[in-house]
Structure formats: structure tokens, C-alpha cells
Point group: C2
Chain length 522, copies 2
């Protein structure tokens, strides 16, 4: 590279940095998480009613197998028939009663109040989730097993990505074999990484209470977590078709008893563990989600439960899970619509590209799925950012890029404001009578800060300037941005004294050195 | 690369090729161009009415400048006031009458009837357009000036991309300086490249009749073109704000007189040549499109005109055109809605990424804009595929990738079918009572061919298989696919005798050697 080229590159980078900083300051004004949305309805109301009726029929005729003892007991008390094979058949009226009495809205608290999320109606929030087992290495790009460090580092990154509203871990720590150690350390690493609201998962129900104890210690005293629960449990409550997952059922019961909102995930896979027909998959998964809702509400009526129906699809040529196709968008937008029709907090999955890299395929697969579920009013859009390879991996660069995409989607969700002012007839008259353009008009200058979203990573240079600047694509710019953030941003989320006490009480694998700018990883 | 790796790579490619061929055969069953869509309404009906009223006010109070003589004459006959500055002020009633009498639907003919497009209601078709001046070179990737060969080659590619419904040239031939030579040769190269319907443009109105003559010769005799007009004129009819473009006005008049449908393009740029307010830009551009509609309908009432309002946006930090932002999606979806509210054939622009390469940014910017205008029911989605760098370039690989993305969008537009069969209650009962899964169920096997779209270029392998196969992204796969198509696919669209006569009559720059597989370019 010639010296001139290098200087031009540096100048370009400095210009981009300034533009980026200017853009960042504006983001809050142009878009925000949590706006009410009702823009896309893949299902007509009568179609939703038919799906609902069919789901009730399934729960009544087929029922749910593999319940845990407490559910058999509570269900029998409510008049459910329990078959010889151990299937609980739910009367329609019971299910309807549970829907009517279920929690309809709640505040999902951030560690900092600025990150509190109102969960109600069709308010849309994008965030993370996932249990990927691998990470395209930040250095080599090759897929490697994910670690606890990744959980902490992805969280620190999410902490700085304004369009992601909460952080649930996207990968599992493959190096930790002991289930209890895994549960406790995932919770610690997630909570330590960000002041946004978080989500965790549990291998064992017995770890829920200790994690709440840990959170209480972070917050400065017993009982504090239950006052501002900043963490929800992700629990795949069902083994499709139509069986409870016993251990996760116990986790759900423990979460309900410990005041932790439950993200009740239904993860059937059309063509494999649910019907290949899209409508049929919605029938089965709605039945399954209702089954899970009944369980938690029988244990603790009105406990905050997210009706998280994530209908997945199979590539029917191989039977393998596929996350990026258009059928996935339809299914999850339909699932959001159904949950919102029930008036329940809704969660769906989107952004699950099948591509292994954040390439163009990832861009369009994620955009189509995220946009549609956002337009359908899903309260929680899970897996929305970072995921690659049909949920097998989570990529640092993808997380940063997807945050940028989510900005575009949030701007779309805000829509077009039509008022006497915005119709601009006098502005048009002035421009025609005057300069013949609108560049310096007061309206133009005012709307710059409120109407238009400026990209941070997205490139808008001319081809010539772009080539002079090294012909970099968004992956390369994201790579640089991730390194900037992760080499410097170590949020202090736990007071040193509390941290010392937590480390005394629990076997925390992340060392204090792992959590400082001097750490060797970045 | 080891021999084993090479063999694995070959095996992988052969597998992909078979999967691709299988997928291609299925496409027709799962998706199709031209379905009726009403899925997204960024504007409420009352908001459209307000925009319409404001547009009529603008036409009445501000009017349109720089008309051509015939329009001044016809407008004066209709009672329009013509100001001292030469602005025509259009009475509301005249505009309303023109809307009521305008062409509301037509068949846009392909050279082959299988490619005929029904243009009516909210039927959605994706296709190309553009006047890019450069092409990222297929070999080096560096931007170079576009040529007549590119026009021919892009058309041959579109001819094989099933989700693109027509071909209008995406680039201009930078090497041709003479305007008449450019008009004639663009028309020839475009028509020679594909049997799909096409679009052309003219620098000079006097070239319209000769091109129709050329098309008649291709079709085998005088008057044939007017029976099945397979080509429309793209004409940027307005210089915003609110002035006619004189030469293009003459082109429109000539097209109307020669039976060539007119794609009446309005290309204002919010914040520069129209208000920064989105609603204000829709007011001005609606007024401008109505002005153009009046011109053509006064000359030839009921002539097929596409109400092609393409509101562009500026990056207000620089004033430069930006095509990929979310505001662009909102504006064009709103424009489609307004045109459809008038009941007129609607055209909008989408897919205009600002990125210079088909990277992730291009993927999400194109997906968001194309999806939303598709959902809003635009009859013609222009610029939808291939364009890069805010319309400054057209990329071969992008064209192939975007066709794939359009498949996903078309599948979304089809939606979810809810019937007693698709609700699948008996299927669920059978699976639970039987094998516990749906993999071999008759419904699954049947729906494989009709419910699910399988990607051709999109990757669904596991990370391990993908890495073994060379860790290629969709750009690399598209590159290979483009080379396969363009080195072999030379559609014979002009009979040799007709071609000889055309070459006698016109100075055709593409040589017969350029149009054969042995040509050196690919």
C-alpha cells in the first residue's frame, strides 16, 4: 500500500468516525424500542379464531404428555382427564380461564431504569437469545466452540448497541461440563456484562433460587431482585409434539415461585416435530404454548409469562433445521399475531439466518424475518441479532451489523407522520418561488435530526471514495467497530464489595482480570 | 489445497448443483409473480386523501413549469391558467377527470406469452431498471464504466432469473456518445437479450418511431409491435420541483403516439428537490406524477401509463442521493399505496442499496425496501435487483443474489393458507399416536413441493460441511452461477433473416460474434 493510499485511508476512517459519532447522538431522536405496532397481519381474525379453536381441540383430544407430578395433581384438581399413557387432556373452559387470568403486561426491568422495557399490547422490542455452541473466531473466522468469555463479551457488546433492548446469552459455555456450574456462571457472566435487562436459562431447577440470591447480592440485599426483576428465564418447556419437558417444567415452577418472569419457549419444527403445513404448525405450537401457560398459571396465577411461540422450519430435503427461509417469517409473524390476539406478552424468533457468515444472504434473511415479526407487533423478538448458521453460531461482527439493520426496521415501524406541517404545501410553494430546491430550508435542517436515520456502519460513499478507502464491506467495518468496543467497554455492573461476596459464596469462573481493559482477549 | 479437500469440494459442488436443479424445477409451484397483495399500508385512507388534496392544491396554486408547446396548447384548451413564467395551473376538476379516464390496467407483453404480465389492482412484479454508469468488473471487482455489452449481458442473466419479471436496462453504454446511436443500440441490446418484457429509454423523441420499426422487424412485420407491445418507455418526465423535463415530455408524446406504454418516472429527492418531510415529498411527487399523467392523457386519452412515483431521499449530512435507508422504504410503499388508491398502474423503486458491494448491508437494505413495497402492492418494483452504490453501479453477482431474495419475498407475499386441511388436526393426532414426528407423513411429502421454497444460492449446510466446502459466501456462489449462465445462455430472440435486415437498416454495435457462446467475454 502506498503512503498516499494509507493517508487517504486514515482520513477516510477519521471522517467515518466523526460521522458515526454524530449519527449515534441522533439515534434516540429518530427511533426507539417499544413503539406500538400493528402493520402486518398474515392471518385474518377469523383465521386466528380457527387456529385457536383447533388448538383447543388438540389440547382436549390429544392433550399433553410427560407432565411433572405437581401438574398432574393441579390438573386433576381442575377436572382434567389423565389418560393411562399419562397424557393430560385439558377441557376448553380451563384453558380459556387460564388465558383470561394470565398476566397481560409487565415491566421488564433493566439493571438501570433507562433500560426498563414496557411489555404490553403490541410494543416491539428486539433483543438476543440463543444457545449456539460455536463462534466464528474473531481472529480467524473459523468456527470454534463457544465459551463463558463469549457470553460476557457478547453482553458487553450488546450493552453498547442501542437497538438491542435486552441481552439473553446467545451461546453456551462449551468448556463447562457441570450443570450447576454452568447455570451459575452463565447467570453471573450475563448480569456482569450489561446494565440492560437480561435472560438466563437453567439446566437444573435447583439453581434458580441460588441465582436469585446472587442477583440479590448484586443489587445490595435480600429481596431486591423481586422488587425489580431484571432477568427472565428462557425455558424450552415442551418436547414437540405435545409433551412437556420435565426438567424445564420444574425450572418454570421454580421461576414462578422465585418471582422470575418466564419466557415460555415453544420450539417445534415444521415438517419434523410439527406439521409441514404452516397453519398446522401454528395449531400445534399454540396448543403447546397454552399447555405451558396452564402449568405456570396453575402454580402461580398471573405470573409474568411470555407466550413465546417460535415455530421453526425444516429443510424438507434433509429434515434439518432451517431458520432463514420466508416460511419462518410467516410462521413467527403469525405466532406474534396469535399471542397478541390473546392479549398475552408475545415472543417470537427471527433473524436466524442459515448462512455461516454475515454475508448478503444473512442480510436479507435476517431483514425479512425481523422486519415482518416487528411489523406484526411481537413484544420480544428473540434471536434477532448475531446468530449465524441456523442458530449454531453467534458472530461478533453480525451482532454489530444486525443492530444497524434493526435501526432501519425501527425507523420503518415508526412510519410516516401526516400532519398539516408535514404535508408541507407552503414549503413547496416557497421552494418553487425561491431557490428551486429544499437544501437550506428550515424544515430540512430541522428534520435532519428527527426524520432520518444515519447509518453508523452502513456505507454511503461514492464508489471512488469507497475504493480509495480500501473497498471495505460492512463486515470489515463491523470488525473494526467490535474491536473498538470490546477492547474498551467493561461496564462496572457489580460493586467490588458485592462481587467479593458473590465470589466467596459461588464458584465464579470469570476472573476479575477477565473483566478489565487490560485483559488479553481484545 | 489437498487432493482430499479438492474432491470434497467437487462432491459438495455436485450436490449443490443437484439441489439447485431440483429447487429450480419447484419454483413455479411455490411462488409466482403477479399475485394480488394488500399487506402493508403505511398510510391510512384519510392520510392518502389529505396527500391527494394537498397535491391538487399544489397543482392548482403552484402548477408546473417548462411545458412543451403541445401541452400549453392542450392545457389552455382545457381551461388551465398559464402564468407569465410559463407555469400551467391545473384546475382540480381537470386532474380528477384525467385520473378517472386514465388507463387502469393492461397486459405488459413478453416476447413469449409465458412472460406476459397482468398489470392491474395490486398485483406485484419485481424487475429491473436503472441508468447506472458503472459496473463492478466481474473479474476484478473494481468499478469500471458500463458498456453496451453489459446491457446485453445483464439481460441474458435476467432471462434466466425466474423471480425477475421483466428487463429494463440497468446501466447506460458509456462508450456511445451519439444520442441516436445510444437509443437504437440500447433498444436492440435489450430486446436481443431476453424473451421477457423489456423497458427502454430515449435521449431523443425522434428515435421512438425507428425503435418501434426495429421491434416490428423483430416480430416479423409492420404493425406487429402495436398488437403485442413488449416494451415500455422509461421516462423521467419531471425536473423537480414541479417542472416538466422538455425532451422527456416529447418522448412521452411520441411513445403515446407509437403505442408504447409509458413508465412515467417521478424522481424527486427528499431534502434536496422535494421537502425533507416524508409526507411533503409524497405531496409534491404525487402532484408531479399527476402533472405527467395529464400531459399524456391529453395527447392520447387512456394510453397505458405507469404512475411511477419513485421518491428518493438525500443523506442530509451531504445532500447526496441515498437509496438504502428506511425512509426510502416508507416513501415508496406510500407512493405505491397512493397510486393503487387512484386505481392506476403503480411503479415504485426499491432495492437501491448505498453499499458498493453485495454485502450484508446490501442484503438488508434491499430486503427491507423490496419487501415493503411488495407488501404495499406495487405493480412494478423497479431497481429491485442488481443495483449497488445508490444506483451508480449494477453488479452481476448482485443481480443473481437479489433474484434469490425476491423468491423469499414472493413466498412471504403468498402468505399462510388456513383451511380445514392445513389446520392439520388429524395429522397431529396421527403423529402423536404414531411415530412421534412428521418426517415421513404424507402431508409432509406433499407440501415439500408446494409450501417451501428451497434456496438455490443460499447456503443451508452445517458449519463443518460449509468449511469443508471452502467457506464460501453467497457472493462467491453467485459469481460461479453467473459465469455458468452467461458463458452458455445466449437466447435466440431474433430470427437470422430479421437480424440481417435490422443490421442493414440500423447501425447495430453488438456484433453477431458478441452474441454467441464462443464470444470471448465469458
Amino acid at each position: 500500500m502506498s503512503e498516499e493510499r494509507t493517508r487517504a485511508g486514515r482520513r477516510g476512517r477519521a471522517m467515518r468516525k466523526r460521522a458515526r459519532e454524530a449519527a449515534l447522538q441522533d439515534v434516540g431522536k429518530v427511533i426507539r424500542s417499544g413503539i406500538e405496532v400493528d402493520l402486518y397481519r398474515p392471518l385474518g381474525t377469523h383465521e386466528i379464531e380457527r387456529i385457536h379453536e383447533a388448538a383447543l381441540t388438540v389440547l382436549e383430544r390429544v392433550g399433553m404428555g410427560d407432565a411433572i407430578p405437581i401438574l398432574y395433581e393441579l390438573a386433576a384438581n381442575k377436572g382434567c382427564e389423565i389418560t393411562e399413557e399419562g397424557r393430560i387432556k385439558f377441557p376448553r373452559a380451563l384453558v380459556e380461564d387460564v388465558i383470561a387470568g394470565a398476566c397481560r403486561s409487565f415491566v421488564f426491568h433493566g439493571r438501570e431504569p433507562e433500560h426498563d422495557l414496557e411489555i404490553s399490547g403490541s410494543r416491539v422490542h428486539f433483543g438476543t437469545a440463543g444457545a449456539a455452541v460455536s463462534v466464528p473466531d474473531f481472529g480467524t473466522g473459523r468456527y470454534r466452540p463457544s465459551t463463558l468469555h463469549d457470553i460476557y463479551d457478547f453482553g458487553r457488546l450488546v450493552d453498547r448497541l442501542p437497538n438491542l433492548a435486552w441481552y439473553s446469552r446467545t451461546v453456551v459455555p462449551a468448556e463447562i461440563e457441570d450443570w450447576t456450574a454452568m447455570d451459575l456462571n452463565m447467570a453471573y457472566a450475563t448480569a456482569a456484562s450489561t446494565t440492560k435487562a437480561i435472560g438466563v436459562s437453567f439446566n437444573e431447577a435447583g439453581n434458580v433460587a441460588p441465582v436469585v440470591e446472587m442477583f440479590d447480592m448484586m443489587l445490595g440485599g435480600e429481596g431486591r431482585f423481586s422488587r425489580r426483576p431484571f432477568c427472565k428465564v428462557h425455558s424450552t418447556a415442551i418436547v414437540p409434539p405435545l409433551k412437556f419437558a420435565p426438567e424445564n417444567s420444574e425450572v418454570n415452577v421454580a421461576a414462578a415461585r422465585n418471582g422470575m418472569p418466564v419466557n415460555l419457549i415453544i420450539a417445534a419444527q415444521a415438517g419434523a416435530t410439527s406439521p409441514a403445513s404452516l397453519a398446522g404448525t401454528l395449531v400445534q405450537t399454540t396448543a403447546e404454548a397454552l399447555g405451558g401457560l396452564v402449568l405456570i398459571n396453575l402454580v402461580r396465577p398471573g405470573h409474568p409469562v411470555i407466550f413465546s411461540n417460535w415455530p421453526f422450519t425444516s429443510d424438507l430435503r434433509t429434515g434439518a433445521f432451517s431458520g432463514g427461509g420466508p416460511e419462518e417469517a410467516l410462521l413467527n409473524a403469525g405466532a406474534a399475531q396469535i399471542a397478541n390476539w390473546y392479549g398475552l406478552p408475545s415472543g417470537v424468533a427471527a433473524g436466524m439466518t442459515d448462512s455461516k457468515v454475515p454475508d448478503n444472504q444473512a442480510g436479507y434473511e435476517k431483514a425479512i424475518t425481523n422486519l415482518l415479526v416487528g411489523m406484526s407487533g411481537a413484544n420480544f423478538v428473540y434471536e434477532s441479532a448475531g446468530m449465524q448458521g441456523a442458530l449454531l453460531g453467534c458472530s461478533y461482527e453480525a451482532l454489530a451489523i444486525d443492530n444497524e439493520m434493526m435501526g432501519n426496521i425501527l425507523r420503518v415501524l415508526r412510519g410516516i407522520e401526516v400532519t398539516e406541517d408535514t404535508l408541507s404545501v407552503p414549503v413547496i410553494e416557497q421552494a418553487v418561488a425561491g431557490p428551486g430546491h429544499f437544501l437550506g430550508h428550515e424544515q430540512t435542517l430541522n428534520l435532519m435530526q428527527t426524520e432520518y436515520l444515519f447509518p453508523e456502519l452502513g456505507d454511503r460513499n461514492t464508489p471512488a471514495v469507497w475504493e480509495e478507502d480500501g473497498s471495505r464491506d460492512i463486515f470489515q467495518r463491523a470488525h473494526e467497530r467490535v474491536r473498538e468496543i470490546l477492547s474498551t467497554h467493561y461496564p462496572q455492573t457489580i460493586a467490588p464489595e458485592a462481587d467479593a461476596r458473590i465470589r466467596e459464596r459461588f464458584d465464579i469462573h470469570l476472573s476479575p482480570e477477565d473483566m478489565r481493559p487490560e485483559c488479553a482477549r481484545w
